[in-house]
Symmetry: C2
Subunit: 165 residues, 2 copies
């Protein structure tokens, strides 16, 4: 038990340090309501292979999105949810020819839920990361993104079917 | 600034709570040296589409593995690294026919680095999760797993090519 407690303490301290480092370098959010953190540290919501684009994707979520997905609270996804889609060009694994794996990084894109701010596009704002900075699209560009999400209106405009409950 | 500090505090508290919950229900490790946490909360090391098995995978790592991957410290991966390979049967997305996405959960498998304990299999122990419990294979089964990793001996027996630095 002593070992477990020590381990736990070290782990918690470690995670806190990571969080502080990640958030200290990122904007505090838009309107003071949301945090845009380091998507590389976020847990998995899904993965996909888009065969028509020859890309592989990891779809990850911030803490609000992950909690919503695991509790089935996605009709609608709660305000503050951020979903990141990280896209890589596909390549064949050099030592396993039937495995398609990520090659060159392509983009990291975001959907940010704010039902009031983004009311015109289903409550979702669309953007992308430039390094650690999340840059939100203007209304015109967001409207383009939103149009492609209309087929999944019944899933609150989100294509990703979360892998964990 | 006040909002940011408050936000940070809440975030750190939230992450700590999640960690405590995850680790309280899991074994403290084998030999008191390693923690087997909740792989669902771990960040992404890679994704893959194994076309010959019709499966999609997310490869994630514990904190030691993630730090090693991002710092390029994987020759060898440090003791305490745990890499999880989460496997789902593939399916076509119901609203996007050219997207291959996870279907039924298949397995969550592990590679655990302990250069002394698992010296006979390249320093890696092989296992799988049964729910939240990581069950390590016996020597015979681990030797079978290890044999398939021989082609990537130069990458310390790890197929995954980490996506982030």
């Amino acid at each position: 038990m002593k070992t477990s407690s020590m381990t736990l303490g070290i782990l918690v301290a470690g995670l806190s340090a990571v969080s502080i480092a990640a958030y200290a370098e990122t904007p505090a959010g838009q309107g003071g309501k949301m945090e845009y953190g380091e998507y590389k540290d976020w847990p998995v919501l899904g993965v996909s292979h888009r065969t028509e684009k020859n890309t592989l994707r990891a779809i990850v979520g911030n803490e609000i999105a992950i909690k919503a997905a695991r509790s089935g609270n996605t009709q609608p996804w709660p305000d503050g949810s951020i979903i990141a889609k990280v896209v890589w060009k596909q390549r064949v694994h050099p030592h396993w020819p039937s495995a398609i794996v990520p090659g060159e990084f392509s983009a990291a894109e975001a959907m940010v839920k704010d039902s009031k701010k983004y009311a015109e596009t289903g409550g979702w704002g669309f953007g992308h990361w430039e390094g650690r900075k999340l840059v939100m699209n203007n209304k015109e560009k967001s409207a383009e993104c939103f149009a492609c999400h209309m087929p999944v209106k019944d899933a609150d405009y989100v294509y990703t079917l979360p892998v964990y409950q």
